[in-house]
């Protein structure tokens, strides 16, 4: 199969204006992935599915990843002038990486029996309203998995035909797979004598359930 570089090159000619970035993977056996901007991801997905050399007709796995805001320490060399002598000193510079949510697609070809190509798209921030584009119209197999991504990560997938919660119940508030999710002490909905526990659980109900 083609390398990510070759796929990127062909994609850029086939989908003009698409911003594609190849993300490294430090695991030697793992695959590098293609990060595609949300404006062109639908066209990119259609190209990957229909292209005769790739024919990625099978979208095996769809999942979300939560990347909260993090500090990344980086060593850089800085020139310092002390006592009239110029010296190179290593300095620890801390960069703040803004938080974002990510959707990952593992694509294979059933016809040509190759793969995977890993496709990723990212939201601008960790806000629940920041959208990415649903690929259910390209691969029907994304339907339930994207619903799960919406349910557990709170990623809004624009263009999904039926975006509802799938594993959690309808009145549930919050997104359990996010890194900053705080689980309640007890999920019991039935009234129990333990008022303190109930009050704790009630924080997780939406307004319509509270009444």
């Amino acid at each position: 199969m083609e390398t990510p570089e070759q796929i990127k090159l062909r994609l850029e000619t086939a989908v003009p204006g698409a911003k594609i970035e190849i993300l490294p993977n430090d695991c030697p056996a793992g695959e590098r992935s293609l990060l595609v901007d949300t404006a062109h991801v639908l066209a990119v997905a259609k190209f990957l599915r229909d292209d005769t050399q790739l024919r990625l007709d099978f979208c095996s796995n769809v999942t979300g990843v939560d990347w909260p805001e993090a500090e990344i320490a980086e060593k850089i060399k800085v020139k310092q002038v002390g006592d009239g002598v110029e010296k190179e000193v290593e300095e620890l510079k801390k960069n703040v990486r803004p938080g974002f949510l990510e959707v990952v697609y593992h694509l294979y070809s059933m016809e040509l029996k190759h793969g995977p190509v890993v496709l990723r798209q990212r939201t601008a921030n960790r806000d629940a309203k920041a959208p990415v584009v649903s690929l259910t119209l390209v691969w029907r197999g994304c339907e339930f998995q994207e619903r799960e991504v919406f349910d557990l990560f709170g990623i809004r997938l624009e263009g999904h035909p039926d975006l509802r919660r799938i594993l959690m119940w309808d009145g549930f508030k919050g997104f359990p797979m996010r890194k900053d999710y705080v689980p309640p002490d007890d999920f019991e909905y039935e009234p129990t004598p333990h008022d303190k526990v109930l009050a704790e659980a009630r924080k997780h109900y939406s307004p319509e359930v509270k009444t």
């Binding site: 056996a29 793992g30 095996s60 359990p176 797979m177």
Partner: protein, 390 residues
């Protein structure tokens, strides 16, 4: 208002049915089938809208067993998740273990000794045998064959579970495989017992087929029911026997050749029509191919260690990176997607559950059929709610 009208139940709802010009011509009935219905194989619900007996809309509803397996796994060590994977598809704990071990081995770059590879193949194929046998038992039970075929299936399954128990200590929750091998070696006596079982299993399959394959009721209830076209099956990411019943030749044992599957001579049975009967038949034929693999594996198994001496189980900290490992589980492609950030627990742990994704096209298969057929179609999908809900 009569006595019937006064009863308000939340289990059904009557919706108006209108003609093309908008005049009322009858009623639709919305029924909530499940979650306690015996044919739903667990706690699973179908919201069905019926026109008479015909299904016009069907929405699967699940999540009753949801325990956020992925979140639990992200908070414990790599090894700590291994027993949890048994509980995903509780019929096939061995293949769940293997899929997870495969993903971690890919992530951490571990090798597996040859004897362990053979043991893994033997365990996986035994799992496939017992899963398909039981599934067919449940499937015909859903058609009304109460008891007999299922009891035959459970009789045979028990023999395989005895083998699992004697090697791992547990019938169902085996927790047997490890990163870089398997937990403990099998004894020569165990291999003799396994050979005996494999030799006898063909006879059982013949008996099972005499009972079922040309049974008039099974033919009438399953042929032409729940047809899944080739194109839709591929597009909807269907995997496993369901995909192959629709005529797509895609078996990960042949495509990826993970483990040592390239050493065995076996065929991939394919269906032609994609109906429930083909799904039944593909599973029967797959069991016969599994027997072939088992015979070869039990014949060729070498001696040697069963664990990679370099493998570190406790406190495993793979380098930062990500890997996706997948195997052909009895129900379809079971994958594990792991992201490591260099810590002792995975940063992201994702299970790609085959029966969850195979439910995507349940509505497409059921539309236009009678409500009694939905039960048969669901039975042929082969779901386990422990895996669907995770």
């Amino acid at each position: 208002m009569n006595a019937v009208g006064e009863r308000t139940s939340q289990n059904y709802e009557i919706l108006p049915k209108t003609g093309e010009t908008g005049e009322p011509i009858g009623e639709f009935l919305e029924v909530s089938m499940g979650p306690q219905h015996p044919s739903t194989h667990g706690v699973f619900r179908m919201d069905v809208v019926l026109d008479g007996e015909k299904v016009v809309k069907l929405k699967p509803v699940f999540g009753y067993l949801h325990r956020n397996h992925e979140k639990i796994a992200e908070n414990i060590s790599y090894l700590g998740s291994m027993p949890y994977t048994d509980r995903l598809d509780y019929f096939c704990s061995m293949t769940n273990n293997w899929a997870y071990a495969l993903a971690v081995e890919k992530l951490a770059g571990l090798a597996v000794p040859e004897r362990a590879e053979y043991i893994r193949v033997i365990m996986a194929e035994l799992t496939r045998l017992q899963n398909h046998t039981c599934l067919i038992g449940f499937f015909v039970q859903d058609m009304g064959a109460l008891g007999t075929p299922l009891m035959y299936a459970f009789r045979e399954r028990e023999k395989i579970l005895d083998l699992f128990e004697s090697v791992s200590g547990a019938r169902m929750m085996c927790n047997y495989m490890r990163f870089g091998g398997v937990r403990c070696d099998v004894t020569p006596d165990w291999l003799v017992q396994a050979k005996q079982l494999v030799n006898d299993y063909g006879k059982f399959l013949d008996e099972y087929e005499t009972l079922l394959t040309e049974n008039e009721i099974l033919l009438a209830r399953s042929q032409g029911v729940g047809v899944l076209s080739r194109e839709l099956a591929v597009n909807a990411s269907i995997t496993g026997p369901m995909l192959r019943a629709s005529g797509v030749n895609y078996d990960l044992r042949k495509v990826d050749r993970y483990g040592i599957y390239n050493r065995f001579d076996f065929k991939v049975p394919l269906g032609e029509h994609g109906d429930t009967y083909d799904r039944y038949m593909v599973r029967i034929l797959e069991m016969r191919e599994s027997l072939k693999i088992l015979q070869q594996a039990l014949r060729d198994i070498p001696s040697g260690p069963v664990m990679d001496p370099k493998a570190k189980l406790r406190g495993l900290r793979p380098k930062a990176g990500e890997a996706y490992g997948r195997i052909e589980a009895p129900k379809g492609e079971l994958g594990f997607y792991l992201i490591s950030d260099g810590m002792a627990n995975p940063y992201r742990y994702r299970v790609r559950p085959p029966s969850f994704i195979n439910l995507t096209i349940l509505e497409d298969m059921c539309l236009g059929h009678r409500i009694a057929d939905t039960v048969v179609i669901l039975g042929s999908v082969d779901i386990v709610l422990g895996e669907v809900d995770r």
